[in-house]
Protein backbone atom coordinates (compact mmCIF):
# COMPACT_ATOMS: atom_id res chain seq x y z
CA UNK A 1 0.00 0.00 0.00
CA UNK A 2 2.80 2.38 1.00
CA UNK A 3 4.54 1.73 -2.25
CA UNK A 4 1.53 2.84 -4.22
CA UNK A 5 1.09 5.93 -2.09
CA UNK A 6 4.70 6.94 -2.68
CA UNK A 7 4.28 6.37 -6.36
CA UNK A 8 1.24 8.62 -6.50
CA UNK A 9 2.88 11.33 -4.39
CA UNK A 10 6.01 11.28 -6.51
CA UNK A 11 4.01 11.38 -9.68
CA UNK A 12 1.98 14.36 -8.46
CA UNK A 13 5.10 16.23 -7.34
CA UNK A 14 6.89 15.54 -10.59
CA UNK A 15 3.87 16.65 -12.58
CA UNK A 16 3.90 20.11 -11.01
CA UNK A 17 7.05 21.24 -12.84
CA UNK A 18 5.80 20.58 -16.38
CA UNK A 19 2.49 22.22 -15.43
CA UNK A 20 4.26 25.34 -14.12
CA UNK A 21 6.47 25.47 -17.19
CA UNK A 22 3.49 25.03 -19.48
CA UNK A 23 1.61 27.73 -17.59
CA UNK A 24 4.51 30.15 -18.00
CA UNK A 25 4.66 29.53 -21.74
CA UNK A 26 0.90 29.86 -22.03
CA UNK A 27 0.86 33.17 -20.14
CA UNK A 28 3.77 34.54 -22.18
CA UNK A 29 2.20 33.56 -25.48
CA UNK A 30 -1.27 34.92 -24.69
CA UNK A 31 0.08 38.23 -23.36
CA UNK A 32 2.60 38.61 -26.18
CA UNK A 33 -0.01 37.84 -28.82
CA UNK A 34 -1.14 41.47 -29.16
CA UNK A 35 2.37 42.62 -30.06
CA UNK A 36 2.95 39.81 -32.55
CA UNK A 37 -0.45 40.41 -34.11
CA UNK A 38 0.17 44.15 -34.39
CA UNK A 39 3.70 44.04 -35.78
CA UNK A 40 4.03 40.49 -37.09
CA UNK A 41 6.48 38.02 -35.51
CA UNK A 42 9.39 38.54 -37.90
CA UNK A 43 8.85 42.28 -38.16
CA UNK A 44 8.90 42.46 -34.36
CA UNK A 45 12.08 40.40 -34.21
CA UNK A 46 13.90 42.39 -36.88
CA UNK A 47 12.70 45.94 -36.22
CA UNK A 48 15.11 48.23 -34.40
CA UNK A 49 12.53 50.93 -33.62
CA UNK A 50 11.49 51.39 -30.00
CA UNK A 51 9.41 54.54 -30.07
CA UNK A 52 6.68 55.65 -27.70
CA UNK A 53 5.13 58.40 -29.80
CA UNK A 54 1.43 58.05 -29.14
CA UNK A 55 -0.62 56.87 -32.09
CA UNK A 56 2.42 55.60 -33.99
CA UNK A 57 4.05 53.39 -31.39
CA UNK A 58 6.76 51.19 -32.85
CA UNK A 59 8.27 48.35 -30.87
CA UNK A 60 10.92 45.99 -32.15
CA UNK A 61 13.14 43.54 -30.33
CA UNK A 62 16.29 43.71 -32.45
CA UNK A 63 18.29 46.22 -30.32
CA UNK A 64 17.68 44.09 -27.23
CA UNK A 65 18.37 40.74 -28.88
CA UNK A 66 21.61 42.27 -30.18
CA UNK A 67 22.43 43.69 -26.74
CA UNK A 68 21.82 40.33 -25.05
CA UNK A 69 23.82 38.36 -27.60
CA UNK A 70 26.72 40.86 -27.52
CA UNK A 71 26.99 40.92 -23.72
CA UNK A 72 26.67 37.16 -23.48
CA UNK A 73 29.23 36.43 -26.18
CA UNK A 74 31.73 38.91 -24.75
CA UNK A 75 31.18 37.59 -21.24
CA UNK A 76 31.90 34.09 -22.54
CA UNK A 77 35.12 35.24 -24.24
CA UNK A 78 36.29 37.06 -21.08
CA UNK A 79 35.37 34.14 -18.86
CA UNK A 80 37.30 31.39 -20.70
CA UNK A 81 40.87 32.50 -19.79
CA UNK A 82 39.90 32.48 -16.09
CA UNK A 83 37.57 29.52 -15.80
CA UNK A 84 39.55 27.05 -17.93
CA UNK A 85 42.78 27.35 -15.88
CA UNK A 86 40.75 26.97 -12.68
CA UNK A 87 39.16 23.83 -14.10
CA UNK A 88 42.57 22.43 -15.13
CA UNK A 89 44.04 23.26 -11.74
CA UNK A 90 41.23 21.64 -9.80
CA UNK A 91 40.50 18.76 -12.15
CA UNK A 92 43.94 17.70 -13.35
CA UNK A 93 47.13 19.34 -12.06
CA UNK A 94 46.25 19.52 -8.36
CA UNK A 95 43.44 17.01 -8.38
CA UNK A 96 42.42 15.99 -4.86
CA UNK A 97 44.87 18.32 -3.07
CA UNK A 98 43.98 20.76 -0.34
CA UNK A 99 44.85 23.69 -2.63
CA UNK A 100 42.38 22.45 -5.22
CA UNK A 101 39.65 22.09 -2.61
CA UNK A 102 40.21 25.65 -1.40
CA UNK A 103 40.28 27.05 -4.93
CA UNK A 104 37.12 25.28 -6.00
CA UNK A 105 35.31 26.38 -2.83
CA UNK A 106 36.32 30.00 -3.39
CA UNK A 107 35.22 29.86 -7.02
CA UNK A 108 31.89 28.34 -6.02
CA UNK A 109 31.42 31.11 -3.47
CA UNK A 110 31.39 33.61 -6.33
CA UNK A 111 28.14 32.02 -7.44
CA UNK A 112 26.52 32.85 -4.11
CA UNK A 113 27.07 36.60 -4.28
CA UNK A 114 23.80 38.42 -5.10
CA UNK A 115 23.78 40.07 -8.51
CA UNK A 116 23.07 43.51 -7.02
CA UNK A 117 26.46 43.34 -5.30
CA UNK A 118 28.14 42.64 -8.63
CA UNK A 119 26.17 45.52 -10.09
CA UNK A 120 27.24 47.94 -7.38
CA UNK A 121 30.85 46.83 -7.67
CA UNK A 122 30.70 47.36 -11.41
CA UNK A 123 29.06 50.76 -11.01
CA UNK A 124 31.34 52.18 -8.33
CA UNK A 125 34.64 50.42 -9.07
CA UNK A 126 34.84 49.11 -12.61
CA UNK A 127 33.04 52.01 -14.33
CA UNK A 128 35.43 54.70 -13.02
CA UNK A 129 38.37 52.53 -14.17
CA UNK A 130 36.87 52.28 -17.67
CA UNK A 131 36.44 56.08 -17.67
CA UNK A 132 39.96 56.67 -16.34
CA UNK A 133 41.41 54.47 -19.09
CA UNK A 134 39.51 56.58 -21.63
CA UNK A 135 37.81 53.51 -23.05
CA UNK A 136 34.46 55.28 -23.05
CA UNK A 137 33.43 58.70 -21.71
CA UNK A 138 30.33 57.52 -19.83
CA UNK A 139 31.85 54.31 -18.43
CA UNK A 140 28.74 52.20 -18.77
CA UNK A 141 28.03 50.13 -21.84
CA UNK A 142 28.22 46.67 -23.38
CA UNK A 143 31.87 46.19 -22.39
CA UNK A 144 31.39 47.07 -18.72
CA UNK A 145 28.34 44.85 -18.42
CA UNK A 146 30.16 41.96 -20.15
CA UNK A 147 33.19 42.16 -17.86
CA UNK A 148 31.06 41.84 -14.74
CA UNK A 149 28.91 39.14 -16.33
CA UNK A 150 32.10 37.19 -17.12
CA UNK A 151 33.05 37.14 -13.43
CA UNK A 152 29.52 36.05 -12.55
CA UNK A 153 29.56 33.02 -14.85
CA UNK A 154 33.10 31.82 -14.04
CA UNK A 155 31.98 29.56 -11.16
CA UNK A 156 29.35 27.84 -13.34
CA UNK A 157 31.79 27.17 -16.16
CA UNK A 158 34.74 26.27 -13.91
CA UNK A 159 33.09 23.79 -11.52
CA UNK A 160 31.34 21.80 -14.20
CA UNK A 161 34.39 21.71 -16.51
CA UNK A 162 36.52 20.50 -13.58
CA UNK A 163 34.09 17.61 -13.03
CA UNK A 164 34.36 16.52 -16.66
CA UNK A 165 38.17 16.80 -16.58
CA UNK A 166 38.27 14.65 -13.42
CA UNK A 167 36.18 12.02 -15.20
CA UNK A 168 38.84 11.37 -17.87
CA UNK A 169 39.91 7.74 -17.17
CA UNK A 170 43.38 7.32 -15.66
CA UNK A 171 44.11 4.37 -17.98
CA UNK A 172 44.05 6.69 -20.96
CA UNK A 173 46.37 9.20 -19.34
CA UNK A 174 48.75 6.53 -18.05
CA UNK A 175 48.84 5.00 -21.50
CA UNK A 176 49.89 8.33 -22.94
CA UNK A 177 52.55 8.82 -20.27
CA UNK A 178 53.93 5.36 -20.90
CA UNK A 179 54.41 6.32 -24.53
CA UNK A 180 56.59 9.20 -23.31
CA UNK A 181 54.06 12.05 -23.58
CA UNK A 182 54.72 15.18 -21.49
CA UNK A 183 52.02 16.54 -19.20
CA UNK A 184 51.18 19.30 -21.66
CA UNK A 185 50.83 16.73 -24.43
CA UNK A 186 48.58 14.56 -22.27
CA UNK A 187 46.31 17.51 -21.62
CA UNK A 188 46.24 18.59 -25.25
CA UNK A 189 45.94 15.17 -26.84
CA UNK A 190 44.06 13.14 -24.22
CA UNK A 191 42.23 15.24 -21.63
CA UNK A 192 40.77 17.85 -23.96
CA UNK A 193 39.53 15.46 -26.65
CA UNK A 194 37.92 13.18 -24.07
CA UNK A 195 36.41 15.87 -21.84
CA UNK A 196 35.83 18.29 -24.74
CA UNK A 197 32.10 17.98 -25.21
CA UNK A 198 31.59 18.03 -21.43
CA UNK A 199 33.61 21.26 -21.15
CA UNK A 200 31.67 22.68 -24.06
CA UNK A 201 28.37 21.87 -22.40
CA UNK A 202 29.46 23.55 -19.15
CA UNK A 203 30.08 26.76 -21.10
CA UNK A 204 26.71 26.44 -22.76
CA UNK A 205 25.07 26.29 -19.34
CA UNK A 206 27.11 29.32 -18.25
CA UNK A 207 25.77 31.16 -21.31
CA UNK A 208 22.25 30.31 -20.18
CA UNK A 209 23.02 32.05 -16.93
CA UNK A 210 24.43 35.16 -18.64
CA UNK A 211 21.48 35.49 -21.04
CA UNK A 212 18.92 36.18 -18.35
CA UNK A 213 21.00 38.21 -15.90
CA UNK A 214 19.01 41.36 -15.19
CA UNK A 215 20.08 43.48 -12.24
CA UNK A 216 23.78 43.76 -13.02
CA UNK A 217 23.19 44.43 -16.69
CA UNK A 218 20.55 47.09 -16.00
CA UNK A 219 22.97 48.94 -13.75
CA UNK A 220 25.88 48.85 -16.18
CA UNK A 221 24.69 48.74 -19.77
CA UNK A 222 23.55 52.37 -20.13
CA UNK A 223 19.93 51.55 -21.02
CA UNK A 224 19.66 53.13 -24.45
CA UNK A 225 17.21 51.57 -26.88
CA UNK A 226 19.42 51.46 -29.95
CA UNK A 227 21.58 48.80 -31.55
CA UNK A 228 25.05 49.23 -30.03
CA UNK A 229 27.52 50.25 -32.75
CA UNK A 230 30.63 49.18 -30.83
CA UNK A 231 31.41 47.24 -27.67
CA UNK A 232 32.05 50.45 -25.75
CA UNK A 233 28.70 52.05 -26.60
CA UNK A 234 25.58 51.82 -24.48
CA UNK A 235 22.66 49.53 -25.17
CA UNK A 236 19.99 47.45 -23.50
CA UNK A 237 19.58 43.71 -23.09
CA UNK A 238 16.29 41.82 -23.27
CA UNK A 239 16.20 41.36 -19.53
CA UNK A 240 17.18 44.97 -18.78
CA UNK A 241 14.56 46.56 -21.06
CA UNK A 242 11.89 44.52 -19.28
CA UNK A 243 13.24 45.52 -15.85
CA UNK A 244 13.38 49.17 -16.91
CA UNK A 245 10.02 49.60 -18.50
CA UNK A 246 7.66 47.03 -17.04
CA UNK A 247 6.41 49.33 -14.26
CA UNK A 248 4.90 52.03 -16.44
CA UNK A 249 4.07 50.01 -19.52
CA UNK A 250 0.56 49.20 -20.61
CA UNK A 251 -1.33 47.98 -23.68
CA UNK A 252 0.91 47.51 -26.69
CA UNK A 253 4.16 48.29 -24.88
CA UNK A 254 3.35 45.81 -22.10
CA UNK A 255 2.59 43.18 -24.70
CA UNK A 256 5.83 43.97 -26.54
CA UNK A 257 7.85 43.59 -23.32
CA UNK A 258 6.22 40.21 -22.68
CA UNK A 259 6.97 39.25 -26.28
CA UNK A 260 10.63 40.04 -25.59
CA UNK A 261 10.36 37.85 -22.50
CA UNK A 262 9.02 35.03 -24.66
CA UNK A 263 11.88 35.39 -27.15
CA UNK A 264 14.38 35.34 -24.28
CA UNK A 265 12.67 32.22 -22.92
CA UNK A 266 12.97 30.52 -26.31
CA UNK A 267 16.65 31.45 -26.73
CA UNK A 268 17.47 30.21 -23.22
CA UNK A 269 15.54 26.99 -23.76
CA UNK A 270 17.36 26.39 -27.05
CA UNK A 271 20.79 27.00 -25.50
CA UNK A 272 20.01 24.71 -22.57
CA UNK A 273 18.84 22.04 -24.96
CA UNK A 274 22.18 22.16 -26.79
CA UNK A 275 23.96 21.91 -23.43
CA UNK A 276 21.92 18.85 -22.43
CA UNK A 277 22.61 17.10 -25.73
CA UNK A 278 26.34 17.74 -25.41
CA UNK A 279 26.40 16.40 -21.83
CA UNK A 280 24.68 13.25 -23.01
CA UNK A 281 27.28 12.79 -25.73
CA UNK A 282 30.04 13.36 -23.16
CA UNK A 283 28.63 10.60 -20.93
CA UNK A 284 28.41 8.14 -23.80
CA UNK A 285 31.99 8.86 -24.83
Amino acid sequence: MNDRLYKILLFAAALIMPIVCGGVVYALVTDAYEAFEHFGFFKFLTSSEWSYTEGSEQYGALPFVTGTLMTTLLALIFCIPFSLPVAMFVGEYFKGTRMAAILSTVTDLLAGIPSIIYGLWGFYTLRPIIMALNISPQGSGILTASLVLAIMIIPYAASLSAEFIKMVPNDLKEGAYSLGATRAEVIRKVVFPVAGSGIFSSYVLAIGRALGETMTVTMLIGNTNNIPDSITSTGNSMASIIANQFGEADDLRLSSLIAIGLILFLITAFINLIGKIMIKRARIA
Binding site: S51, F123, P137, S140, M219, N244, G247, E248
Partner: protein, 353 residues
Protein backbone atom coordinates in the same frame (compact mmCIF):
# COMPACT_ATOMS: atom_id res chain seq x y z
CA UNK B 1 -1.06 14.70 15.26
CA UNK B 2 -4.14 15.85 17.15
CA UNK B 3 -1.99 17.95 19.43
CA UNK B 4 -0.33 19.75 16.52
CA UNK B 5 -3.68 20.39 14.90
CA UNK B 6 -5.05 21.84 18.13
CA UNK B 7 -2.11 24.17 18.63
CA UNK B 8 -2.27 25.34 15.02
CA UNK B 9 -5.95 26.10 15.42
CA UNK B 10 -5.36 28.04 18.63
CA UNK B 11 -2.68 30.05 16.92
CA UNK B 12 -4.89 30.77 13.91
CA UNK B 13 -7.75 31.92 16.10
CA UNK B 14 -5.40 34.15 18.09
CA UNK B 15 -4.09 35.75 14.91
CA UNK B 16 -7.61 36.25 13.61
CA UNK B 17 -8.66 37.91 16.86
CA UNK B 18 -5.71 40.30 16.80
CA UNK B 19 -6.36 41.15 13.16
CA UNK B 20 -10.07 41.80 13.51
CA UNK B 21 -9.93 43.30 16.95
CA UNK B 22 -9.58 46.77 15.44
CA UNK B 23 -9.52 49.62 17.90
CA UNK B 24 -12.15 52.26 17.39
CA UNK B 25 -10.56 55.64 16.69
CA UNK B 26 -11.55 59.12 17.69
CA UNK B 27 -14.22 59.45 14.99
CA UNK B 28 -15.88 56.38 16.47
CA UNK B 29 -15.33 54.25 13.37
CA UNK B 30 -13.17 51.17 13.21
CA UNK B 31 -9.54 51.62 12.17
CA UNK B 32 -9.11 50.80 8.49
CA UNK B 33 -6.35 49.51 6.28
CA UNK B 34 -6.03 51.68 3.21
CA UNK B 35 -3.91 50.90 0.21
CA UNK B 36 -2.68 53.07 -2.59
CA UNK B 37 -0.14 52.83 -5.37
CA UNK B 38 1.52 55.07 -7.86
CA UNK B 39 4.15 57.74 -8.26
CA UNK B 40 7.52 57.25 -6.60
CA UNK B 41 8.21 61.00 -6.62
CA UNK B 42 6.06 61.87 -3.55
CA UNK B 43 6.76 58.57 -1.76
CA UNK B 44 9.18 59.92 0.89
CA UNK B 45 6.58 62.59 1.77
CA UNK B 46 3.76 60.05 1.83
CA UNK B 47 5.75 57.69 4.05
CA UNK B 48 6.08 60.37 6.74
CA UNK B 49 2.52 61.64 6.36
CA UNK B 50 0.96 58.16 6.46
CA UNK B 51 2.94 57.36 9.59
CA UNK B 52 1.68 60.55 11.27
CA UNK B 53 -1.86 59.93 10.04
CA UNK B 54 -1.71 56.42 11.49
CA UNK B 55 -0.73 57.79 14.87
CA UNK B 56 -3.56 60.33 14.88
CA UNK B 57 -6.37 58.23 13.36
CA UNK B 58 -5.24 54.65 13.94
CA UNK B 59 -5.66 53.78 10.25
CA UNK B 60 -2.89 51.96 8.43
CA UNK B 61 -1.97 53.20 4.96
CA UNK B 62 0.15 51.10 2.60
CA UNK B 63 1.58 52.76 -0.49
CA UNK B 64 3.34 50.98 -3.33
CA UNK B 65 5.69 53.15 -5.36
CA UNK B 66 5.10 51.41 -8.67
CA UNK B 67 5.03 54.51 -10.88
CA UNK B 68 2.23 56.88 -11.84
CA UNK B 69 1.02 54.75 -14.73
CA UNK B 70 0.87 51.62 -12.61
CA UNK B 71 -1.04 53.45 -9.88
CA UNK B 72 -3.67 54.68 -12.31
CA UNK B 73 -3.94 51.16 -13.78
CA UNK B 74 -4.55 49.78 -10.27
CA UNK B 75 -7.24 52.38 -9.66
CA UNK B 76 -8.86 51.52 -12.98
CA UNK B 77 -8.83 47.85 -11.90
CA UNK B 78 -10.40 49.00 -8.61
CA UNK B 79 -7.89 47.23 -6.41
CA UNK B 80 -6.65 50.30 -4.48
CA UNK B 81 -8.26 53.08 -2.45
CA UNK B 82 -6.29 55.82 -4.18
CA UNK B 83 -3.68 56.29 -6.89
CA UNK B 84 -0.71 58.64 -6.71
CA UNK B 85 0.24 60.37 -9.94
CA UNK B 86 2.62 63.12 -11.02
CA UNK B 87 0.60 63.66 -14.16
CA UNK B 88 -3.09 64.52 -14.04
CA UNK B 89 -5.36 62.32 -16.13
CA UNK B 90 -6.10 63.57 -19.62
CA UNK B 91 -9.70 64.06 -20.77
CA UNK B 92 -9.50 60.80 -22.76
CA UNK B 93 -8.19 58.87 -19.76
CA UNK B 94 -10.95 60.35 -17.59
CA UNK B 95 -13.56 59.35 -20.16
CA UNK B 96 -12.32 55.75 -20.09
CA UNK B 97 -13.06 55.24 -16.39
CA UNK B 98 -15.66 56.12 -13.74
CA UNK B 99 -15.59 59.77 -12.55
CA UNK B 100 -12.57 60.58 -10.39
CA UNK B 101 -11.42 63.48 -8.20
CA UNK B 102 -7.88 64.85 -8.31
CA UNK B 103 -6.46 66.10 -5.01
CA UNK B 104 -3.04 67.79 -5.13
CA UNK B 105 -0.93 66.72 -2.15
CA UNK B 106 2.32 68.68 -2.43
CA UNK B 107 4.60 70.30 -4.95
CA UNK B 108 7.98 69.46 -6.34
CA UNK B 109 10.21 70.32 -9.23
CA UNK B 110 12.54 68.77 -11.74
CA UNK B 111 16.08 70.09 -11.45
CA UNK B 112 18.92 69.96 -13.96
CA UNK B 113 21.79 68.35 -12.07
CA UNK B 114 25.29 68.35 -13.55
CA UNK B 115 28.83 67.21 -12.89
CA UNK B 116 31.46 69.76 -13.95
CA UNK B 117 34.61 70.09 -11.95
CA UNK B 118 35.15 73.62 -10.66
CA UNK B 119 31.89 74.94 -12.07
CA UNK B 120 28.99 75.95 -9.85
CA UNK B 121 26.00 78.19 -10.43
CA UNK B 122 25.40 77.11 -14.02
CA UNK B 123 22.63 79.05 -15.79
CA UNK B 124 20.41 77.53 -18.47
CA UNK B 125 17.41 78.49 -20.58
CA UNK B 126 14.65 76.16 -21.73
CA UNK B 127 15.76 76.35 -25.36
CA UNK B 128 19.35 75.45 -24.46
CA UNK B 129 18.20 72.50 -22.32
CA UNK B 130 16.10 71.26 -25.24
CA UNK B 131 19.08 71.56 -27.59
CA UNK B 132 21.34 69.66 -25.19
CA UNK B 133 18.86 66.78 -24.85
CA UNK B 134 18.19 66.78 -28.60
CA UNK B 135 21.92 66.44 -29.31
CA UNK B 136 22.18 69.82 -31.02
CA UNK B 137 24.53 71.21 -28.37
CA UNK B 138 27.20 68.58 -27.84
CA UNK B 139 30.11 70.43 -26.18
CA UNK B 140 30.25 72.13 -22.80
CA UNK B 141 32.05 75.13 -24.34
CA UNK B 142 29.38 75.63 -27.02
CA UNK B 143 28.91 79.34 -27.63
CA UNK B 144 25.25 79.19 -26.53
CA UNK B 145 26.31 77.90 -23.11
CA UNK B 146 29.21 80.35 -22.88
CA UNK B 147 26.86 83.25 -23.69
CA UNK B 148 24.68 82.31 -20.70
CA UNK B 149 27.64 81.72 -18.39
CA UNK B 150 30.26 84.27 -19.48
CA UNK B 151 32.19 84.20 -16.21
CA UNK B 152 32.70 80.44 -16.13
CA UNK B 153 35.47 78.23 -17.46
CA UNK B 154 33.44 75.67 -19.39
CA UNK B 155 35.58 72.71 -20.50
CA UNK B 156 36.01 71.63 -24.12
CA UNK B 157 34.41 68.26 -23.39
CA UNK B 158 31.42 66.37 -24.76
CA UNK B 159 28.18 66.70 -22.84
CA UNK B 160 26.72 63.39 -21.65
CA UNK B 161 22.96 63.82 -21.11
CA UNK B 162 21.40 61.35 -18.66
CA UNK B 163 17.72 60.49 -18.77
CA UNK B 164 15.28 58.03 -17.22
CA UNK B 165 15.16 54.52 -18.65
CA UNK B 166 11.84 53.76 -16.95
CA UNK B 167 8.55 55.51 -17.61
CA UNK B 168 8.28 58.33 -15.11
CA UNK B 169 6.27 61.33 -13.99
CA UNK B 170 9.60 63.17 -13.71
CA UNK B 171 10.14 62.69 -17.44
CA UNK B 172 6.57 63.80 -18.05
CA UNK B 173 7.05 67.11 -16.19
CA UNK B 174 10.45 67.71 -17.78
CA UNK B 175 9.26 67.10 -21.35
CA UNK B 176 6.03 69.03 -20.69
CA UNK B 177 8.27 72.02 -19.93
CA UNK B 178 10.51 71.48 -22.98
CA UNK B 179 7.44 71.14 -25.22
CA UNK B 180 6.16 74.50 -23.95
CA UNK B 181 9.42 76.41 -24.39
CA UNK B 182 10.93 74.82 -27.49
CA UNK B 183 9.01 74.39 -30.75
CA UNK B 184 11.88 72.19 -31.98
CA UNK B 185 11.38 69.81 -29.03
CA UNK B 186 7.60 69.87 -29.42
CA UNK B 187 7.69 68.76 -33.06
CA UNK B 188 10.54 66.24 -32.83
CA UNK B 189 10.15 64.54 -29.45
CA UNK B 190 7.04 65.78 -27.65
CA UNK B 191 6.04 64.97 -24.08
CA UNK B 192 5.23 61.84 -22.13
CA UNK B 193 6.30 59.52 -19.36
CA UNK B 194 8.68 57.87 -21.81
CA UNK B 195 10.24 59.92 -24.59
CA UNK B 196 12.67 58.87 -27.34
CA UNK B 197 15.73 60.79 -26.22
CA UNK B 198 18.19 60.70 -29.12
CA UNK B 199 21.48 61.07 -27.21
CA UNK B 200 23.07 60.23 -23.90
CA UNK B 201 22.55 57.32 -21.56
CA UNK B 202 19.73 56.26 -19.32
CA UNK B 203 19.36 55.01 -15.76
CA UNK B 204 16.49 53.63 -13.72
CA UNK B 205 14.76 55.87 -11.21
CA UNK B 206 15.88 59.14 -9.65
CA UNK B 207 18.57 57.34 -7.63
CA UNK B 208 19.92 55.79 -10.84
CA UNK B 209 20.13 59.09 -12.72
CA UNK B 210 21.55 60.93 -9.70
CA UNK B 211 24.08 58.13 -9.18
CA UNK B 212 25.32 58.29 -12.77
CA UNK B 213 25.62 62.09 -12.62
CA UNK B 214 27.52 62.02 -9.33
CA UNK B 215 29.91 59.38 -10.64
CA UNK B 216 30.47 60.61 -14.20
CA UNK B 217 32.22 63.80 -15.31
CA UNK B 218 30.58 66.10 -17.87
CA UNK B 219 27.08 64.71 -17.38
CA UNK B 220 23.82 66.62 -17.08
CA UNK B 221 20.46 65.09 -16.25
CA UNK B 222 17.04 65.78 -14.81
CA UNK B 223 16.24 64.62 -11.29
CA UNK B 224 13.30 65.09 -8.92
CA UNK B 225 13.96 68.10 -6.67
CA UNK B 226 13.35 66.17 -3.45
CA UNK B 227 16.17 63.85 -4.41
CA UNK B 228 18.56 66.58 -5.53
CA UNK B 229 17.92 68.63 -2.37
CA UNK B 230 18.45 65.68 -0.06
CA UNK B 231 21.58 64.50 -1.90
CA UNK B 232 23.01 67.99 -2.41
CA UNK B 233 23.93 67.51 -6.05
CA UNK B 234 24.79 70.75 -7.89
CA UNK B 235 21.90 71.95 -10.05
CA UNK B 236 21.36 74.77 -12.53
CA UNK B 237 19.39 78.02 -12.28
CA UNK B 238 16.83 78.14 -15.07
CA UNK B 239 15.38 81.14 -16.84
CA UNK B 240 11.64 81.55 -16.22
CA UNK B 241 9.04 83.22 -18.40
CA UNK B 242 9.92 86.64 -16.95
CA UNK B 243 13.59 86.26 -17.85
CA UNK B 244 14.72 85.71 -14.25
CA UNK B 245 17.26 82.95 -13.54
CA UNK B 246 15.76 80.99 -10.68
CA UNK B 247 17.23 78.20 -8.57
CA UNK B 248 14.77 75.55 -7.44
CA UNK B 249 13.78 75.99 -3.79
CA UNK B 250 10.70 75.50 -1.63
CA UNK B 251 9.82 79.19 -2.15
CA UNK B 252 10.38 79.31 -5.91
CA UNK B 253 8.44 76.06 -6.43
CA UNK B 254 5.45 77.33 -4.42
CA UNK B 255 5.64 80.61 -6.35
CA UNK B 256 5.01 78.72 -9.58
CA UNK B 257 1.49 77.84 -8.40
CA UNK B 258 0.45 81.36 -7.50
CA UNK B 259 -1.40 81.88 -10.79
CA UNK B 260 -4.90 80.85 -11.86
CA UNK B 261 -6.09 77.32 -11.19
CA UNK B 262 -9.03 75.38 -12.65
CA UNK B 263 -11.69 74.06 -10.24
CA UNK B 264 -10.67 70.42 -10.69
CA UNK B 265 -6.97 71.34 -10.01
CA UNK B 266 -5.85 69.59 -13.20
CA UNK B 267 -3.24 71.98 -14.51
CA UNK B 268 0.38 72.11 -15.50
CA UNK B 269 2.41 74.82 -13.79
CA UNK B 270 5.57 74.43 -15.83
CA UNK B 271 6.83 77.65 -17.45
CA UNK B 272 4.75 79.67 -14.95
CA UNK B 273 4.32 83.40 -15.51
CA UNK B 274 4.50 84.20 -11.80
CA UNK B 275 7.44 86.27 -10.55
CA UNK B 276 10.32 84.36 -8.86
CA UNK B 277 8.78 81.09 -10.03
CA UNK B 278 10.98 78.09 -10.84
CA UNK B 279 9.82 77.05 -14.32
CA UNK B 280 9.89 73.22 -14.04
CA UNK B 281 7.57 72.86 -11.04
CA UNK B 282 4.66 70.49 -10.63
CA UNK B 283 1.86 69.34 -8.38
CA UNK B 284 1.56 65.70 -7.49
CA UNK B 285 -1.92 64.29 -7.09
CA UNK B 286 -3.88 61.60 -5.34
CA UNK B 287 -6.73 60.33 -7.46
CA UNK B 288 -9.83 58.72 -5.97
CA UNK B 289 -13.21 57.69 -7.34
CA UNK B 290 -16.03 60.15 -6.90
CA UNK B 291 -18.35 57.27 -6.00
CA UNK B 292 -16.56 55.43 -3.23
CA UNK B 293 -18.74 52.29 -3.20
CA UNK B 294 -16.86 49.93 -5.49
CA UNK B 295 -15.32 46.46 -5.18
CA UNK B 296 -16.78 45.52 -1.73
CA UNK B 297 -15.58 48.67 -0.05
CA UNK B 298 -17.25 49.52 3.22
CA UNK B 299 -18.41 52.98 4.14
CA UNK B 300 -15.76 53.13 6.89
CA UNK B 301 -13.09 52.60 4.28
CA UNK B 302 -14.42 55.49 2.22
CA UNK B 303 -14.54 57.69 5.31
CA UNK B 304 -10.96 56.77 6.18
CA UNK B 305 -9.86 57.64 2.64
CA UNK B 306 -11.39 61.10 2.96
CA UNK B 307 -9.91 61.54 6.44
CA UNK B 308 -6.52 60.79 4.94
CA UNK B 309 -6.92 63.37 2.18
CA UNK B 310 -8.22 65.97 4.62
CA UNK B 311 -5.21 65.27 6.81
CA UNK B 312 -2.79 65.72 3.87
CA UNK B 313 -4.38 69.10 3.10
CA UNK B 314 -4.08 70.20 6.74
CA UNK B 315 -1.41 72.69 7.83
CA UNK B 316 0.19 70.00 9.97
CA UNK B 317 0.84 67.67 7.04
CA UNK B 318 1.75 70.48 4.67
CA UNK B 319 4.41 71.63 7.14
CA UNK B 320 6.01 68.18 6.83
CA UNK B 321 6.38 68.65 3.07
CA UNK B 322 9.21 71.17 3.27
CA UNK B 323 10.99 69.11 5.94
CA UNK B 324 11.28 66.26 3.47
CA UNK B 325 12.31 68.57 0.60
CA UNK B 326 8.97 69.21 -1.11
CA UNK B 327 7.04 72.48 -1.30
CA UNK B 328 3.69 73.05 0.46
CA UNK B 329 0.49 73.66 -1.53
CA UNK B 330 -0.71 77.25 -2.04
CA UNK B 331 -3.90 78.21 -0.13
CA UNK B 332 -5.97 78.22 -3.31
CA UNK B 333 -5.16 74.60 -4.13
CA UNK B 334 -6.12 73.55 -0.61
CA UNK B 335 -9.43 75.45 -0.71
CA UNK B 336 -10.37 74.00 -4.11
CA UNK B 337 -9.47 70.50 -2.97
CA UNK B 338 -11.52 70.67 0.23
CA UNK B 339 -14.44 71.80 -1.92
CA UNK B 340 -13.84 68.90 -4.35
CA UNK B 341 -13.78 66.40 -1.47
CA UNK B 342 -17.37 67.39 -0.63
CA UNK B 343 -18.47 66.00 -3.99
CA UNK B 344 -17.27 62.49 -3.07
CA UNK B 345 -20.16 60.13 -2.40
CA UNK B 346 -20.96 56.68 -1.02
CA UNK B 347 -24.02 55.15 -2.68
CA UNK B 348 -24.80 58.59 -4.05
CA UNK B 349 -24.77 60.32 -0.65
CA UNK B 350 -22.05 62.88 0.07
CA UNK B 351 -19.70 61.57 2.77
CA UNK B 352 -18.56 64.93 4.13
CA UNK B 353 -21.32 67.21 5.32
Amino acid sequence: MKKIFASVMTWAVAVALVACGGNANQEGREAQELSGAGATFPQPFYNVVFEQFGQVHGDQVAYGGIGSGGGVRNLRDKIVDFAGSDAYLSDEEMAAMDPVVHIPTCMGAVVLAYNLEGVSGLKLTGEVIAQIFAGEITMWNDERLVALNPSMELPAESIIPVYRSDGSGTTFVFTDYLTKVSPMWATKYGMGKSVDFPVGQAAKGNPGVAGVIKQTKHTIGYVGSEYAFAQQIPYAAIENKRGEFILPSTASISAAASGEMPADTRCSITNSEAPRAYPISTFTWMIIYKEQHYADRKKEQAMATLDLLKYILSDEAQAISSEVHYAPLPTKAKELSLENLKSVTFDGVAILQ
